[in-house]
Symmetry: D2
Subunit: 358 residues, 4 copies
Amino acid sequence: MNSFGTKFRLTTFGESHGDAIGCIVDGVPAGLEIDESYIQNEIDKRKPGLTKFATQRKESDKVQILSGVFNNLSTGAPIALLIFNENQKSNDYKEIKSLFRPSHADFTYFKKYGIRDYRGGGRSSARETASRVAAGAIAKKLLEKFDIQIRSGIFAIGGIEAENLDFEYAITSEIFALDKLQEGMQKKAILEAKESGDSIGGCVFVKVTNTPVGLGEPLYNKFDAALAAALMGINGVKAVEIGEGVNASRLRGSQNNDQMDKNGFMSNHAGGILGGISSGTDINLKVHFKPTPSIFLKQQTQNEQNEIVNFNLKGRHDPCIAVRGSIVANAMVSLVIADMLLLNASSTLENLRKIYNR
Amino acid sequence: MNSFGTKFRLTTFGESHGDAIGCIVDGVPAGLEIDESYIQNEIDKRKPGLTKFATQRKESDKVQILSGVFNNLSTGAPIALLIFNENQKSNDYKEIKSLFRPSHADFTYFKKYGIRDYRGGGRSSARETASRVAAGAIAKKLLEKFDIQIRSGIFAIGGIEAENLDFEYAITSEIFALDKLQEGMQKKAILEAKESGDSIGGCVFVKVTNTPVGLGEPLYNKFDAALAAALMGINGVKAVEIGEGVNASRLRGSQNNDQMDKNGFMSNHAGGILGGISSGTDINLKVHFKPTPSIFLKQQTQNEQNEIVNFNLKGRHDPCIAVRGSIVANAMVSLVIADMLLLNASSTLENLRKIYNR
Amino acid sequence: MNSFGTKFRLTTFGESHGDAIGCIVDGVPAGLEIDESYIQNEIDKRKPGLTKFATQRKESDKVQILSGVFNNLSTGAPIALLIFNENQKSNDYKEIKSLFRPSHADFTYFKKYGIRDYRGGGRSSARETASRVAAGAIAKKLLEKFDIQIRSGIFAIGGIEAENLDFEYAITSEIFALDKLQEGMQKKAILEAKESGDSIGGCVFVKVTNTPVGLGEPLYNKFDAALAAALMGINGVKAVEIGEGVNASRLRGSQNNDQMDKNGFMSNHAGGILGGISSGTDINLKVHFKPTPSIFLKQQTQNEQNEIVNFNLKGRHDPCIAVRGSIVANAMVSLVIADMLLLNASSTLENLRKIYNR
Amino acid sequence: MNSFGTKFRLTTFGESHGDAIGCIVDGVPAGLEIDESYIQNEIDKRKPGLTKFATQRKESDKVQILSGVFNNLSTGAPIALLIFNENQKSNDYKEIKSLFRPSHADFTYFKKYGIRDYRGGGRSSARETASRVAAGAIAKKLLEKFDIQIRSGIFAIGGIEAENLDFEYAITSEIFALDKLQEGMQKKAILEAKESGDSIGGCVFVKVTNTPVGLGEPLYNKFDAALAAALMGINGVKAVEIGEGVNASRLRGSQNNDQMDKNGFMSNHAGGILGGISSGTDINLKVHFKPTPSIFLKQQTQNEQNEIVNFNLKGRHDPCIAVRGSIVANAMVSLVIADMLLLNASSTLENLRKIYNR
């Protein structure tokens, strides 16, 4: 089940060390300007090999549009995007081809499918998220037309939290840090982990502004539920919070309720969603990433023959997956909102009348 | 979009103060024993009016099976379940029919659909969750056949956390408390909120044991993503954690990785899911509920005419939705697992050979 | 898989001799006037027991709306419709409970599910189609708002074909005959079959007028493909033709092409659909029903114990399922068009701009 | 909506004159042997440019597997297949870029999307069916493991019908003729149409043997309904018949019923499907293709400016799309059966027990 979304729909393919990765984006409304350079620009944000805070795997991640765009406009046909893999060092994986790396998906893929592409995690590798970012770029292009803005950045690294959210600053930061004052400490935490052969967890903040009121399809495709699935489905995510999040479970109603004045909501504990439908206020999301399971310290595990193995990983890995994860989270949220925008189009008779003019 | 699940599929209908609520459960494998009393027993757990910790609305919540069961066995046909509403005091809502109760879905439903059934929240009411529990009972009956157990209870109320998880005790507790020692404090927190016209948030813990290895359909119907959607879609939920959850973002890989010995995983930070697929270890979930938005203190809001209104709510409401929410969370998890169990059936050629014997 | 449609979505339940049949209609745009009498009126058209050309089973087929409608307007919530069964003479089926009636679904249901509700065919009975007609009534109510008209009637009985299509006349005909001049012969063919304990096949014509150009979602939810599925899925249908239909395979391109003048298409061999998208001209469909498999002549079959059995059916059956099938075909086409109307709403950026006004 | 199937699921992309066409095949059970040469062999059957009975467009149609196969076995990950376009003579279409070719999808695509890729019909071109055949090859590989055979060929050309169905002969025939004795007349009809600048319709027969009893998911994913959708959705198909087909509407029940003896059904009017479920007997399908709309005779049409235009088409076109259509029909049927095979896996509790061994 490699498709995501209902009307604005992404289907991806590809493994970490296969020939190529890519996707088909279906349901893109006709008439949207799309050019490769815009998509490329988004992909480049999560490209590996750029800083010392990310894996040193070098991939040019050059994207090609194969279909669905004619004279720089979407035609309503599915848009296929293709990225060839270049820097697959499969040899890195020969030694570990029959063992289950701790907290990776090796064990579960093997048990489920009876076969696994051990090279770099195969299908379970975060390399696939490049396709999500590429598709997310098309979604963002659509959302731009409706002045909807999705921004993200690093909220916390190893528990060191931002105290101020500056999304403009995050764009320029090597680790997409939201708080310039905390950035130094956060970087230091990553490098310390890296230098000791370890890794570290982090938390991403995503903020959506100017969402139209009314997005979300209750009761089983609620906006918040769709966002939770989109975000929890990203490699390494273990918790998702919306609005007040975990803290809501500690509050009283009088503290958590968002009262209204003439201009709308006077607070935003809800995080922009009520009853599974967008309220028009900012959507605030926290996405918690576990530390990269690929560490370079000695570990113990099983192999396919059910023997105990002690081993040291080699290879090139992100010391903190949350960093590039912030780009992926942004893309996933974009995809959800594009889908909700399309799904809501038929919610009322009045909407249909506007379209069919009858 | 009122359907949930892919192969084991729930579709619900009904409003808080309409004639009836109910659901159709599709995809139930043929040959499963189903009787009304089993389903009734599950529904009774979340029935309102039972204790001072829940709303005083009195509903017998008598369920009828209308189809899909013949001689007490499922036939493979869709199973329709019907519960008539009895204790609808619509008059409670006359005074507030044109105003948007803070942190309820009144505002968003009105803006999305241009019309709303103001009686008790209409479709957005948690009353609908009785259908989820009824359907969940069928899912649990199926899971029993495979020795899969789903248990739940109250982990925290207003920040007062359990230190010990005793699921057997929770069954007997009026608030489904997991920790007998904390129960008194937790109850006190609820009653204090209630007595002051307020409400309080809480956190539910769900544990699944003995799940087969291999459930979950990557990449876009991963087990954890599906659980996150199922749980975040419950009324009032603002955060979902799996395994180490939020805390994972604070740890190093060496702390969070689950190494293996001969018997399997030596720890369970992952919470039973790796790469979106069940690993066979316990699935541990935390579900954070906001405090009930219905409080009896004076509040300010808008009405449909965009005027500011100060008002006092009346009616009958749960002071802490997490309490009955623990039953709903349990049901939703059951539905997800039943679906995953069915979806996984065709994951390998070997599985198909067993079935078709060719 | 008891759901039909994507955005305008029907889910049905119920067996021939169970307690009730019914359905949930999801995705109905909010703001549509809906009243029970309109739905009842549609159901009454296919109600059994009305003429000597239909089964004598007496069912009042009284429909109740359980949800989704408030103050006579759809609210956007799912609409549940319920019809209790009344005239279940299960005893009629005791004698045949373990044998497989020829050309019925007894054999295949038993082999697929390992259990079957033998009473009247259980889930496979055409009784379920009352739910389709009820749901179709809601679809038609929506289509009326857009001046789209779906009409149907009997084109042929036992090869006796209409030479003229008079849909107004069909409404008044006991067998929904489209051609008053052929009606006598067609009725005679039915009665002759009936009197000899036999049954007879027939062909239904469905015509849709004033469809907006642009409905249909290529490439795998084309308008014609969706109609074919909807119609072939009706009990007893063995062939579906669109436009020139079977005859198209005998023609040359110069004969079959629809050229255009200023006013549009100069002919309509296509039957209103090109490339899976409506062209705005009439949609013309022929639906071929086999003769009712329930006949009263001696037949030979197997039973569940794999023994040969000779038997005579009893009970009450339509001598020609095409007659009431014309109402069901009409309903199914209505459901398809309603779905296509909603799905097309997001086909262009321009449509979305009209809705969101941004 | 460019996806087909539920569990065994095809998503295609690409236009006639774009860079490439291709598809993602999702849900392929792990452990199936797959190699490019097998897929290539199937694609070569429908490759253009091979005989005088097909278009002279020359395409090598070389297929590449980009993902989902490791060591020649399917891994459970999505399988992406890519075919680059080579012989796009876009110039052929410059003259007609703003006019609507009669009985092509030019008019409807333009009206639906407001923009169209006029080069060779863009997305609406039958070129896309190469992807279906490629995906169908994977489906057939799976069905081979279960000894299910799908064969097809030309039943009729311009009304000249086969009297004998020889599927082995069809493989060797330039027009896939099923009846060697009629082949000469059928070829002559095609060449006569071609030489006069015209085209001709035809009928394809598809036969499936050795299908397991029990495939098909009633009530809204019945086997026959799914086949009808699959076949009616092929470019140029205007009618689909199953078993007795159109003729069933002319018969009496006593003529059309399939009685049983010890060995099973004594006749096969049903065409292998009862109640939407396979009965184990041969599935017999007739698929009626209209004549190619691209003819070289003078025709009249509108252009995008709503002016009348008289024109003569140029380019390279099949004189009879049914011929290569027989390969596409075969592929679509294969995809449906593979999907049904997977969907049925969870139909009974007993099936699940076999898989989970609990």
